[in-house]
Each structure stands twice: as structure tokens, then as C-alpha cells.
């Protein structure tokens, strides 16, 4: 098997996909989070500012989903096929909310009527909340495993099976993390009364996150023992959960000093580290079969050919610096507090 830096190609692609989903969680995470708070702002002008804080970037953030999804399809087609066809209805709901959210952002400012704006405000906020929640539900189900047969096909029920207590807890925790992350993003983008209001909301958001995160962690340790196996085998890996706790603890510390840019780095880091934790818990499995471990989908039985992975690694190596360049350029252009002008939503 071909290797690069001592890692085989499926492992390298696993890292690429993990990196892309981390990037996606950090980026769309803050704009879903900002959207989740939307109805907490009562004034029309506050809502406009909050919406325009994500206005120039949400579209680019969603691109990360397309790229991460494409990378999953390209590198691990067997997983893509099993997971997406198995979780048919959750993914369809996800798509509907993605559409409604995009439409709400685009159309809200196009008419001055109160009912019009209120309708899109509600649709924007609910779809943001549901998208964060559904991402967590998918993650929760992947962590627990799904009933998968020898052809790597899902054999469970269509919808309610996915809404089990653990998946719901992971969903709520994801929402809570994104809300804290989004509130900090909004704090970097606002000033005056709105800024003061969001600072109070952030405190509530952090408490919400810490409580749900605590419950989910405990639940994982007690009821999903297979997820701790990696740590029992190599205790050195405990440095990762430790880093997660330190990263989370830094957020309220920095927030109390109003150092929101640094706090934002730590909520981003938390999201990324939690996915590193997921990666460690799963690797080299991608999807655990709850019916028979023989049917597990792993990075080896799900991967594309070495040739294909090699091509895609080359594409990624050329493309990644370009993507980082555009992203940095856009964020630099729109840095600082939101100013409403005639191009705004």
C-alpha cells in the first residue's frame, strides 16, 4: 500500500475529510449560531445588523459543506452511499432547511412590510436551529453506530430510530456550541446596545453549552463504552479531551475580559478538537454496524482506489492554499463592525 509521511492513502484522506468537516463546523457553525439567536433581537435595526454580520460570508461557508460532502463521496463512496441512503429522511429535512435558510437571508430585506420580515426572521432562525441540531443528530447516530448489513446497507427504521436520546443530546450540544460560537462572532461585529445585549446572551449560551456538554460526555462514557476504547489502548491520547476542557474553559475567561477575537479562536478550536475526539474514537472505522462488527464500514473497505485517492490528494494539495487565500481575502475585506449601506440585506 502506498504511503506518504508514513500514512497510507485512506488515512490521509480520512484526515482531509476530517479537516474539511472541522472547517465546515467552525464556519457554518458561527452563522447557524448567529441565526439561532436571531429572534432574541427585537429591534428591526438589530436584526438587520445581525443578518448582515453573516451576509457576505454565509454563502462561502456553505461551500465547505459542498466540498466536504464531495470529499466524502470521492474518498469513501461506500460510506457516502450507506449513510445518505440510510438516513434518507434526516438528510431530506436538512436540505429543506438549507433552502429555507438561504431563501430567508436573500428575501427578508426585499420588502418593507412588517409581516414579511417577521415571517423570514422566524424561518431564518428556525432553520438555523434545525440545521445545527440535525448535524448533531447525524453525528450522534454515527458515534453510536447504525444497523448495517453485510452489503453495507442500513436496515433500521426511516426516521424515529434516528431520534434516539443520545442523538438528540448530541444535537442539542451541537446547537449550544454553535450558539456560543455565533454569539461571539456577533460580538465582534456589533456595537452599542445590541453589543451589550449579546454579551448577556453569550453568558447564558455558555452555561447552556457547558451543561449539555457535561451531560453528553457522561452519557458517552456510561452508555457508549466502545467510544472510549482508543483511550484505554493508548492513554497518551487523553491529552485531546484535556485540551477540549482547557479550550472550553478559556472561552468564559476571555469573554469576561471582552477579548472576543481570542474567545472566537477558542470556540473554533473547541469545535475542531471535538471532531478530533470523534476521529480518534472512530478511526479506522467510519460507521459502526450495531448488528455485526464484521459489517463495520472502515476507511479501508469504503475507500476509493489508491490511484483515485492519489489524484484527489494532489488536487487537495494544490487547491487548499487557494481556498484559504480567498477565505482570508473575504474576511479581511469585511473585517470590523457591520455598517449598513445600500448593498446590505
Amino acid at each position: 500500500m502506498e504511503t506518504f509521511l508514513g500514512l497510507d492513502y485512506p488515512t490521509l484522506w480520512f484526515l482531509v475529510v476530517g479537516g474539511l468537516f472541522s472547517g465546515y463546523a467552525i464556519l457554518d457553525g458561527f452563522d447557524f449560531g448567529a441565526g439561532a439567536w436571531h429572534l432574541f433581537f427585537k429591534e428591526e435595526n438589530d436584526r438587520r445588523i445581525a443578518l448582515n454580520a453573516v451576509g457576505p460570508v454565509w454563502d462561502g461557508n456553505e461551500v465547505w459543506l459542498v466540498i466536504a460532502g464531495g470529499a466524502l463521496f470521492a474518498g469513501f463512496p461506500v460510506l457516502y452511499a450507506s449513510l445518505f441512503s440510510g438516513m434518507y429522511l434526516p438528510f431530506m429535512l436538512f436540505l429543506v432547511f438549507i433552502i429555507f435558510r438561504a431563501v430567508s437571508i436573500e428575501f427578508r430585506g426585499k420588502e418593507p412590510m412588517k409581516w414579511w420580515r417577521r415571517m423570514w426572521d422566524i424561518s431564518y432562525s428556525i432553520s438555523s436551529i434545525m440545521l445545527a441540531f440535525l448535524l448533531g443528530v447525524v453525528l450522534g447516530n454515527v458515534l453510536q453506530g447504525l444497523p448495517i448489513n453485510e452489503n453495507h446497507e442500513y436496515t433500521g427504521g426511516p426516521l424515529l430510530d434516528f431520534l434516539n436520546p443520545y442523538a438528540i443530546m448530541v444535537g442539542i450540544t451541537t446547537l449550544a456550541l454553535f450558539m456560543a460560537h455565533g454569539a461571539i462572532y456577533l460580538l465582534m461585529k456589533t456595537e452599542g446596545k445590541l453589543y451589550a445585549h449579546i454579551a448577556i446572551l453569550l453568558k447564558k449560551g455558555m452555561i447552556f453549552f457547558m451543561v449539555t456538554f457535561g451531560i453528553t460526555s457522561l452519557y458517552t462514557l456510561l452508555y457508549i463504552p466502545h467510544l472510549s476504547d482508543s483511550f484505554r489502548d493508548s492513554p497518551a491520547l487523553f491529552v485531546v479531551p484535556l485540551a477540549v476542557f482547557l479550550s472550553i474553559a478559556n472561552v468564559p475567561r476571555l469573554a469576561s475580559k471582552k477579548k472576543y477575537q481570542q474567545a472566537f479562536i477558542f470556540t473554533s478550536l473547541t469545535a475542531a478538537l471535538l471532531l478530533v475526539l470523534v476521529a480518534i474514537e472512530l478511526y479506522p472505522t467510519l460507521l459502526i454496524s450495531t448488528t455485526d462488527p464484521e459489517n463495520n464500514i472502515t476507511i479501508y473497505n469504503a475507500a476509493s482506489s489508491e490511484k483515485s485517492l492519489g489524484i484527489m490528494l494532489t488536487i487537495a494539495a494544490i487547491g487548499a492554499p487557494l481556498v484559504l487565500f480567498y477565505t482570508a481575502f473575504v474576511y479581511k475585506t469585511f473585517r470590523g463592525k457591520v455598517k449598513i449601506d445600500e448593498t446590505s440585506y
Partner: protein, 460 residues
């Protein structure tokens, strides 16, 4: 209805709806690059107003394009799991390249294009516009490569058997430049340019007819007319090349396009007609031996007909393929007549007085949209019963675990959501058009001035 037909309807419906928007983004992207370059070169405020006006309409089409595009990517996995496993190794690298090279470029610069007018220097803004335009062109590259590979697979070998069979890549560049990529890509690009140009023609023809924003509209109309003329003529060439390619690579599809059944006989080319699938006959008006001439430059040369293929390897809907193909060609010729005729009259200085012609231009926006749609219907239905030509049947490509009621549910939801989306799109597009190319506040006086100037000019 069974899962196969429901999944096919859902995919066809969602992709047909999606395909209203990307061609507009590509086509308007080209027009925006021209308008903005002219603004920067001449400093003429009218080109600035045109650029800003069309950016707003571009934004409307782009947002819907992104949201409906994510649906397409997900549907491969949700509805066509076996297909995803089969083509993942090949299709994957094209899709990954699209995400990284095209979509990131497009969406990265989009923020600057839409919201950066007051934040960056004017040349940086132009670079962003060009970036978005190139990004949308590149998107088409990778998507068309993937689809062309399904039409004319190359650079692969098959590994495994039965349910576990899949295509694996053996040569990336052979896959990229498979026999139909170049012809189909140019055909798609030109179709997109025409979609954009005719939207611009249509809106400004409307203004000219209404006597609003007349001077600025004449400038925009002229530019769009040049684009339309060049590319409607060019489309003749790419279309012909595509047909030649189909003759070599997909003989069953070629036969279906003209309803040619006899296994080996000279084939006719119809202007219009009707295929009786049961009796394997075409009733219509055409040129005897025309298809033979088009392909072989000889009226008597035989062309492979549908009967040369086993019944289960023939497209199921020959008449539909025939009709969509002929409608596309008819529209293409109409677009040439319209744009070349318009250019000649413009040259003589008589174009803008011809009310009847401006009325036709006002409605002409529908034509390239319909041609784009019909062309794809013919291409995709003509490939049936295969999803990957000669390798994987559509009926074998489904998600085994998804049930009919699930697909029915999602199909109903998509239908409702897309009807709502389309209604909003038309409503907002109309609102922007009624509002016109000038901004509300500081430019109100400017706009009024122009309306006055138009009024005076019209009275003379």
C-alpha cells in the same frame, strides 16, 4: 409508483429546476465582466448603474443556484446509493475538483462582488467579478466532465462483480477528456451565455418599449445583442460537433434523436415529426438521407438504427427524445435569426423603432432557457436505459434501502418548496425590474433626469 420511477422524477425535477439558475449565473457573469470593464475603462456612470443593477439580479439567481445545487449532491447518496458506489472512484475526483477549484473561487469572491462596492478599490471589485465568472465557468467544467463520463466512459476499468462492481479510474486525463467532454462543455457554456444575454435583452427591450431608462437600455441592449449573435452562431458549431460525437459514441441515442429504426439504412433528418414507437415509424417532414449527410457527408451512407440494439438496450421514450431534440434545434435556429436580424437592423439604425421586434425580444428570455432544458432532456433520456452508458442500468443504480413512500414524501416536499421558491424568484425579479437600474436615494434625481431626457428624446 415504484422507487425507480419516483427517484427518477425527483432527480429530473430537482435538477431541471436547479438548471434554470447556473446558466444565468454564468451568462450574467460574462455580461457583468463586460459592463464593469467598460465602466472602469470609460468612467461612464451608466455602465456603473448597469453593473450594479445586474449584480442585484445575479445575486438573486446565485443564491437559489447554491441552495438547489446542494440538493443535487446529496441526492446521489440518498437516492442513487448503488450508482454512488459504482462511480464514486471516478465521479468523486471531478466533484472534489469542482468544490475546490470552482465553487470556492466563485463563492469566495461573491461576497466582495455583492457587498464590496464601497469597501474595495474598483479594480479589486472587477477582479472579484472576473473571479466569480471564472468560478462559475469552472463549475460547469467539472460537472460536464462527470456527466460526459456517464455518456462516454473512458480511463477506467471495472473491479468486482454484481452488487459490488464498481468503476475505478486508470487514467485521470483520459477520464477528464473522455470523447464527449469538449463538445458538450462548449455547448453548455454557450447555452449559458445565451441564457444570460437574452435575459438582459429581454429586460432592456421591456424598458425601451415602456419608454423608461431608454438611453441606458440601448447601451445594454447593444452589448447583449453582440454576445447573443456571436454565441448563437457559435452554438451551431458546438451543436454539430456534439451530434457528430453522439453518432460515433452513442449510436442508439443518435438513432433516437431522429427516430431512425432500421438497423442499417440511410437515415432521414426531420424538421418536425412524430415517432410511433409501436410501429417504429416517423410521420413528419424532413430531408431524406439528411442525417446520413450530416454525419457522413453522403445521403446514401447507412446509419445504425435502433433495431441494431436489443429491445432492453433501446431508450424507452424515443418520441420524447425526438421531440425535445427537435425543439432544441428549432429554438437554436430561432435565436440565430433573432440575434442576426437584430444586429442587421441595429446596424441600419432601425432596431429600436420596431415595436413588434422589441416585443419578441422581451419574451425571448424563455427561448434559451427552454433550449437548455430540452437539450438536457434529450441527452439524458437518450442515454437510457443506462445511467452509465453501456455499463450500469438506471434500474440497478438505486438506493436499495429507500422505500417508495419516503421518496414520495420528499418529492412532494421538494415540489411545494420549489413552487414557493420560483414564485418568490419571479416576484422579486419583477420588482427589481420595475424599480429599474438606479438606486433609490442619492440617484433618484439622476434617474428622474434620465427619464426626463428619455421623454424629450422620444417626443422629438
Amino acid at each position: 409508483m415504484d422507487v425507480e420511477i419516483l427517484s427518477r422524477i425527483q432527480f429530473a425535477f430537482t435538477v431541471a429546476f436547479h438548471y434554470i439558475y447556473p446558466p444565468l449565473s454564468i451568462g450574467l457573469g460574462l455580461i457583468l465582466v463586460i459592463f464593469e470593464s467598460l465602466y472602469i475603462k470609460t468612467g461612464n456612470k451608466e455602465y456603473e448603474a448597469l453593473t450594479r443593477f445586474w449584480i442585484k439580479i445575479f445575486a438573486l439567481t446565485f443564491g437559489i443556484g447554491v441552495a438547489t445545487g446542494i440538493v443535487m449532491e446529496f441526492e446521489f447518496g440518498t437516492n442513487w446509493a448503488t450508482y454512488s458506489k459504482y462511480v464514486g472512484d471516478i465521479f468523486g475526483s471531478a466533484l472534489a475538483a469542482e468544490g475546490i477549484f470552482a465553487f470556492a473561487l466563485e463563492s469566495g469572491f461573491l461576497g466582495v462582488l455583492l457587498f464590496g462596492w464601497n469597501r474595495v478599490k474598483s479594480w479589486v471589485h472587477l477582479v472579484s467579478t472576473i473571479g466569480v465568472f471564472f468560478g462559475s465557468m469552472f463549475s460547469a467544467v467539472w460537472i460536464v466532465i462527470a456527466n460526459s463520463w456517464q455518456q462516454t466512459p473512458a480511463g477506467y476499468h471495472i473491479v468486482g462483480e454484481g452488487l459490488n462492481a464498481r468503476a475505478e479510474i486508470t487514467d485521470f486525463w483520459e477520464m477528464v477528456f473522455n470523447p464527449s467532454t469538449v463538445d458538450r462543455l462548449t455547448h453548455v457554456w454557450l447555452g449559458a451565455f445565451l441564457a444570460g444575454a437574452f435575459l438582459v435583452l429581454s429586460v432592456h427591450a421591456y424598458y425601451i418599449l415602456k419608454g423608461r431608462f431608454v438611453e441606458i437600455s440601448k447601451k445594454a441592449f447593444k452589448i447583449a445583442l453582440i454576445v447573443a449573435t456571436v454565441f448563437s452562431l457559435g452554438q451551431l458549431l458546438t451543436g454539430h460537433h456534439s451530434a457528430d460525437g453522439v453518432a460515433v459514441n452513442q449510436p442508439a441515442k443518435l438513432a433516437a434523436l431522429e427516430g431512425h429504426y432500421e438497423a442499417s439504412a440511410p437515415a432521414d433528418m426531420y424538421l418536425f415529426g412524430w415517432v410511433d414507437q409501436e410501429n417504429e415509424e416517423v410521420t413528419g417532414i424532413g430531408i431524406p438521407g439528411g442525417l446520413s449527410f450530416l454525419i457522413h457527408q453522403d445521403f446514401d451512407e447507412p446509419v445504425t438504427g435502433l433495431d441494431a440494439f436489443a429491445k432492453e438496450d433501446q431508450p424507452g421514450q424515443v418520441n420524447a427524445v425526438f421531440q425535445f431534440y427537435h425543439l432544441m434545434v428549432a429554438i437554436g435556429i430561432t435565436l440565430i435569426l433573432l440575434s442576426v436580424g437584430g444586429t442587421l437592423l441595429y446596424w441600419k439604425g432601425q432596431l429600436f423603432n420596431k415595436k413588434w421586434l422589441m416585443t419578441i425580444f422581451m419574451f425571448s428570455v424563455l427561448l434559451p432557457q427552454l433550449a437548455n432544458q430540452f437539450g438536457w432532456y434529450a441527452a439524458e433520456m437518450g442515454r437510457q436505459p443506462w445511467v452509465v452508458y453501456g455499463l450500469l442500468r438506471t434500474s440497478d443504480a438505486l438506493s436499495v434501502v429507500v422505500q417508495a413512500n419516503q421518496v414520495l414524501f420528499s418529492l412532494i416536499v421538494f415540489t411545494l418548496v420549489y413552487v414557493l421558491l420560483f414564485t418568490l424568484f419571479i416576484y422579486l425579479l419583477n420588482k427589481k425590474i420595475q424599480h429599474g437600474p438606479y438606486d433609490d436615494h442619492e440617484d433618484e434625481g439622476y434617474s428622474l433626469q434620465h427619464d426626463m431626457a428619455d421623454l424629450i428624446a422620444n417626443q422629438k
